[in-house]
């Protein structure tokens, strides 16, 4: 399984939808709260060249926002 990292804020709805989606599909992920964690925020900007959340890193492939189909494809799951 590819490693999955989620950059999120506590109030972000689409972050929650993404995390719910991972939980439902038994996808393990590491989460960084970029509202507080400035180092992770810099890392997120470095990877995605933008400031919106969520940013999802699936094995080096970067996704901005929650696109279920794109995430399913990257993970090779049915969704």
């Amino acid at each position: 399984m590819k490693s999955v990292t989620v950059y999120s804020t506590p109030t972000c709805v689409y972050c929650k939808l993404a995390k719910d989606f991972f939980a439902k599909n038994d996808v393990a992920y590491v989460e960084h709260n970029v509202a507080d964690d400035l180092k992770a925020r810099a890392e997120m900007v470095e990877k995605s060249h933008q400031l919106g959340v969520p940013v999802i890193d699936i094995g080096g492939e970067i996704f901005v926002g929650f696109d279920k189909d794109a995430l399913s494809k990257a993970l090779g799951i049915a969704g």
Binding site: T9, T11, C12, V13, L17, Q50, G52
Partner: protein, 309 residues
């Protein structure tokens, strides 16, 4: 062949779905997700029956309510791309989806809602996500200690100010006209905050920045001057556009593309097509109204399918 295809997953679509299932109509509901535009709202205080509910919780309840009727109602996670007339006698519509499915139905209820309006000024596309934001509740925490502007003085704009207040250093609200339109309760609250400033008669002209936003240029309509304001964030809250493209050229729409419906029945100009919620030309955009309008449309669809009228 379905009796009915419902397009959308907001309060209108779900209300119609529940009623359709209870009437045992052969119904397909196609939605990319549930909850509608309120999903990004932190706290909804006017959904009747709930003193307070978050947008996500409302979305979950709406989805659970309509899914309780599966398989009596079919639900697809997909997006309707087009609706066209397959046959005029009997009257049958062809509905195609993004995933390439094509189905036929005797009636279609368009409850596809609306999407956020963009400013349409230079720099907006280039700096989208690079300081230009359309979801204040999502992105406000990333603007801690920064100077930001909010564009728009309706309820969405005022809520963005509230979301940003805990984080941003200063918030400048740019309002095109000479008064705010949002709820007086919220106006009063933000009026007391030291780090919030409101500029009236301000029309945003350009968003400036290299890799991230560095300033905005706005025109002061009264003074006739063009001013540059140094900010790192621009939150755009200027209203919405109807998602009516799927029936474009097929039913009558108003000047901003909202589907014209008969307010007594929810019928669009083409026989067999109904619409409800924010995609319509109603005067008010509210979750409760969307749900009620959709129920009225559904009951009218039921009588159309059974009596042909």
């Amino acid at each position: 062949m379905y009796d009915l295809v419902i397009v959308g997953g907001g309060p209108a679509a779900v209300a119609a779905g529940v009623y359709a299932a209870r009437k045992k109509m052969a119904t397909l509901l196609v939605a990319e997700g549930f909850g509608g535009q309120s999903i990004v709202s932190a706290d909804i205080h006017n959904w009747i029956g709930e003193k307070s509910i978050s947008g996500v919780a409302l979305a979950e309840r709406l989805e659970a309510h309509v899914r309780a009727y599966e398989p009596g109602i079919e639900i697809w996670t997909d997006r309707v791309e087009s609706v066209s007339l397959a046959s005029s006698s009997p009257r049958v519509f062809s509905v195609t989806t993004k995933k390439g499915e094509a189905v036929e139905a005797r009636a279609v209820l368009v409850a596809s809602g609306s999407r956020r309006k963009r400013l349409g000024v230079p720099g907006e596309d280039k700096l989208d996500g690079k300081g230009v934001a359309y979801c204040s509740i999502c992105d406000a925490p990333l603007f801690g200690g920064k100077d930001v502007v909010v564009v728009g003085g309706g309820n969405a704009g005022l809520e963005a100010v509230v979301d940003l207040h805990a984080y941003a250093k200063t918030i400048t609200l740019l309002q095109r006209s000479d008064a705010l339109r949002g709820d007086p309760v919220t106006q009063e609250m933000i009026g007391k905050w030291d780090n919030v400033r409101i500029i009236f008669n301000a029309a945003i002209e350009e968003i400036v920045g290299d890799s991230f936003v560095s300033s905005v240029r706005y025109k002061d309509a009264k003074a006739g001057t063009s001013n540059l304001l140094a900010v790192e964030g621009v939150f755009v809250e200027i209203g919405s556009m109807p998602n009516s493209d799927i029936v474009k050229g097929f039913v009558d729409v108003d000047e901003i593309g909202r589907i014209k419906v008969d307010p007594r029945t929810g019928r669009a100009s083409a026989l067999g097509i109904w619409a409800a919620g924010d995609v319509c030309d109603g005067l008010y955009q509210q979750n409760n109204i969307a749900a009620g309008d959709a129920v009225r449309a559904l009951l009218n669809i039921y009588s159309y399918l059974h009596s042909g009228k």
